[in-house]
Amino acid sequence: MGTVFSFDVRDGDFEHAVAEAVDWLHHVDETFSTYRPESVVSRLDRGELTLADCPPEVAEVLRLCDDVSRASHGYFTSHPDGRLDPSAVVKGWAIERASRILTRAGAVNHCVNGGGDVQLTGSAAPGSPWRVGIAHPLRPGELAAVVTGRDLAVATSGTAERGAHILDPHTHRPATALASITLVGKSLTLTDAYATAAFAMGHAARDWVEELEGFGAFAVTAFGATWHTGDFPELAILAD
């Protein structure tokens, strides 16, 4: 089991830059995998390494985890099962960094999609914004909404991702109010981590995201209804 990452570079031949981005993702996998007993994070968790022994990006990610945990009033945790597991921050962070590798190489119009979490840079074509379908969590094969824009990050958390196993860290019970929640922002690191926290929050996420500067949220509830935060011009809802 794993996650598929796809790269869609719209103008020119950037095979070399894509290869560099892929190498970066493999490096992240080796460093942060909680499924590899020999990974840096696994060894750190077992106490075989100290933070000072780890590559600097480990401290960066753990700092991000703390930031997101604070910003989400504890709904995000780097220890979801009691063990160190920063995966929920690592994924968005790694994709955003991969996207930056492409931009730096001159590929200024591209899309990086990691298992349904997306960083979009530039536009799909001159004058055409990116269009991102939001998979309907309850109706396989259908889209619930479309998000349109330039330079966007789109992340969705839901039951399809971890079964009913995104836990509410406050109650230690699975979050069940929402089938999925999509956050839209500019950079995927926070957008993705906030989506995970928002899913754990359930309906309370609506007020929470309203207060966040620069983010919008679209949710499909467990009963198939939808809601979204105000002032969300990028969003077109297809399903209700």
Binding site: V4, G116, A135, L143, H165, S180
Partner: protein, 141 residues
């Protein structure tokens, strides 16, 4: 247009599979009855069943063998079918019900004129990706 782009992307990059982003546990409320026969995704509307078909390798996973077939039309990827997928456990049902249709959809809707990509809560079977990649390689995409 986008079809060509997607095919080119696959050619240049392949699909990157990373274990660190694997979801922890999976729970499916209602197991579907075991189905050892061909499993063809979420309906014909997603893909084109006519055209040249190229089968991927049978890849072994801890849950059983996985094999996919790709459908090509005029050299473009137009469909993905699952020839074999494990069945019987909740994990298998989760793969069948969630990952395969979603990846199928990601592959196909990414090629439609209206949508560039799909955001959704997903995970994907390692065996599925390896079989898919072997089929893409075989087809020269």
């Amino acid at each position: 247009m986008r079809r060509a782009i997607f095919a080119a992307v696959v050619t240049a990059v392949g699909l990157v599979l990373l274990l660190s982003f694997k979801p922890h546990d999976l729970a499916v409320a209602e197991p579907r009855s075991a189905n050892a026969g061909p499993w063809t995704g979420d309906g014909a509307s997603l893909g084109d069943d006519t055209g040249t078909m190229v089968d991927g390798d049978v890849t072994d996973t801890r849950w059983g063998p996985v094999q996919v077939r790709i459908v090509l039309s005029a050299g473009k990827l137009t469909g993905v079918q699952v020839l074999q997928a494990p069945a019987g456990t909740s994990m298998d049902v989760a793969i069948n019900d969630r990952a395969l249709p979603i990846l199928d959809r990601e592959a196909l809707t990414a090629q439609s004129a209206r949508i560039d990509t799909v955001s959704g809560a997903t995970y994907t079977s390692d065996g599925y990706v390896r079989s898919l990649q072997s089929a893409l390689d075989r087809a020269g995409l």
